[in-house]
Symmetry: C2
């Protein structure tokens, strides 16, 4: 069921988990969140994944869905796990890791009551740190997503008709995303980060701040999802920033391009060129060991020198980051922000997104997904980076 | 910002919350989950809603997004709340309700440490129970969703082209959903319930069990989202069950119709008629006071009498419910299942979905959204209920 390439990759991930667990003195890690289950098993299921600090993993599955093999046990409820551990001679963990930032309070305390560990550590912290360094299989999935993402962006000019709204344009783009293989789902870490397939920002709507941790905002269609396109008419002189998700595999690439209806004011073109210059400088200089904070500071320095500080990452509210890790979720580690203590490491994958909001016009700038290699950065998302004329 | 009709409705909701809190001896309820924030404030924001058992609500908001007015305070972090309570002479709750099934373990314990209540109760249980009985404004939103949902279903035959796959059909339906106002997001209670805009099941794929709490399954496009359409070719003799979300407002209607490519085997038509007969009987007999378990038992009795037990709600795995509450999430209370202790009450809104999976052919049956009135059931989702011929 799982091909050999993925199986080898899963074993690599388990090895990294066990190494980290041994270093932190943890005896076992029990995962129940969908994203971590997928990361550790290559599948989504209802149940648990248990990895002891030494030895082979166990898969406890609540509903039959074709999973069979070594280590797989079907259970009705988590309370059965201790007796199954005992039956297999698997020691109960004294220090157990549970997903403290992902499990609900009730689910977490239920598992604590079942395992009664002397100490409980945070599996969310561990898994987010491990997932930050991508494996060969994961990188291959990013490359597939990036290629299809770029293919969809190439089809955007054909989606445009004069007089349409941002939402009408988005519906056309969404359909092409799906036809090019988008899974549709937009997965984020943390609560209240709902957005539908991505964001198109045009005109005044680009200034509307996001109530959540997104780089930019937009008012959205409805108070129940206050983000992105809001029905703005794409009239002459409007910048249209398109930041739709690259979810063509489970690994999400992030990519933004700007389109123009008619001619934009000079400020918009100048800000766009500043964003490209920031990207160019970071592409030339960033390598393993570069502090993530330095990338933000570099972007700020270019911005200040260009006199564009009032527009950088928003106007009314300005996001305090210029990029972020990507993976199974859109907001993985590292975060390119001034207070980051992290250094770039090989096989991190992140989105770099210097953007400017031009009041009344829209947003300009660039976003691409980059892989950190031993030598520096490799861009994954290739497509025309200038402001693209729509009419 | 919030129109008067919604404001009056919010006050009704707050009144119900306070009545329930007084009955259970709770002093205050602090909500942070997006769905409950939207329910209590009509908006999504990053922050908290606090309602004391007596007195007026407070809104603690982390990011400016245009919310102003009585009771609104901006905060950087939840640790500021006690001093703000003190400044306003608002007593700290001795018994505090927190969302134990929605907040992460870390978020919940952080709030507990801030408020240090003598006792903590479960706000998730309270809110799910209150949200089960819909208010006038909520019912008006369901009616809007239902109308647009039916309008989209009327456009489905025009989406079909001979030789297409279930996914190709779904992309066309998705676009029409969006054009008719779908917000896109599919919101569910509980972890790992991701699905993208709904489900189309055809042919053998209808038998694939769901790893999660959905009525039916389907293999999906990818292991990272194992649900729904999987690329099945819609060939002659295939039943195509379309169960796409009715998220045209924040309130989701649920509605399923079956389409046929060519002629189906007799068993499929007979099972479909049995589903319609179940629905008809329930429409005629259900009223406030009817046990939810009785609706399931009635469906099972009709099914057994028709000799269709092996096909009811799946084959390899059979869902043990025949309907469920709907609202801001697709899986609200009540659940129409044999072990339910609940009785129907006026202003509940639920989906009734007797369905049969016919091996190799697909799924048949019906799903509509119903409002419980003083007199009985009112169907919200009106559209041709027979198997609709596609070619």
């Amino acid at each position: 069921m799982i091909q050999q390439e993925l199986m080898n990759d899963l074993k690599l991930r388990w090895g990294r988990m066990q190494q980290a667990m041994q270093q932190m003195g943890a005896d076992g890690c029990l995962l129940a969140g969908g994203i971590n289950l997928y990361y550790t098993t290559g599948q989504m299921y209802s149940g648990y994944f248990y990895l002891p600090a030494e030895g082979s993993p166990r898969f406890f599955i609540k509903r039959p869905n074709g999973c069979e093999g070594e280590g797989v046990t079907y259970i009705r409820k988590p309370e059965q796990m201790p007796e199954l551990f005992a039956a297999e001679g698997l020691p109960m963990p004294e220090k157990l890791l549970l997903e403290a930032d992902e499990l609900s309070y009730n689910d977490y305390t239920r598992l604590q009551a079942i395992f009664q560990p002397k100490e409980t550590g945070n599996a969310t912290t561990l898994m987010r740190r491990l997932r930050e360094i991508k494996t060969p299989y994961e990188i291959s999935q990013f490359r597939l997503s990036a290629e299809r993402h770029a293919q969809t962006y190439a089809e955007i000019p054909a989606c445009f008709r004069p007089g349409m709204t941002d939402l009408e344009l988005q519906y056309e783009v969404e359909k092409r995303m799906r036809q090019n293989g988008s899974l549709g789902l937009f997965r984020a870490f943390g609560p209240n980060m709902d957005i539908f397939m991505g964001s198109i920002l045009a005109g005044e709507n680009a200034e509307t701040p996001s109530p959540f941790d997104f780089a930019l905002g937009g008012g959205g269609m409805d108070a129940s999802c206050p983000l992105g396109a809001n029905g703005t008419r794409l009239k002459e002189g409007t910048a249209v920033m398109i930041d739709m998700a690259g979810n063509y595999t489970a690994y999400i690439t992030d990519m933004t391009r700007v389109f123009a209806v008619g001619k934009l004011p000079e400020l918009a073109y100048r800000a766009h060129q500043t964003a490209l210059a920031i990207q160019h400088e970071i592409e030339q200089t960033a390598r393993p060991g570069t502090p993530c904070a330095e990338l933000y500071n570099l972007a700020m320095a270019f911005t200040e020198k260009a006199g564009l500080s009032a527009y950088f990452m928003g106007t009314k509210q300005q996001a305090k980051f210029v990029g972020h890790g990507i993976g199974l979720q859109i907001n993985e580690l590292p975060v390119l922000m001034p207070r980051s203590k992290e250094l770039l490491e090989p096989n991190m994958v992140f989105a770099l997104e210097p953007k400017y909001v031009i009041p009344g016009i829209g947003a300009v700038g660039i976003e691409n997904s980059f892989l950190v290699t031993e030598k520096g950065l490799e861009k994954l998302t290739h497509f025309n980076e200038e402001i693209i004329q729509l009419s």
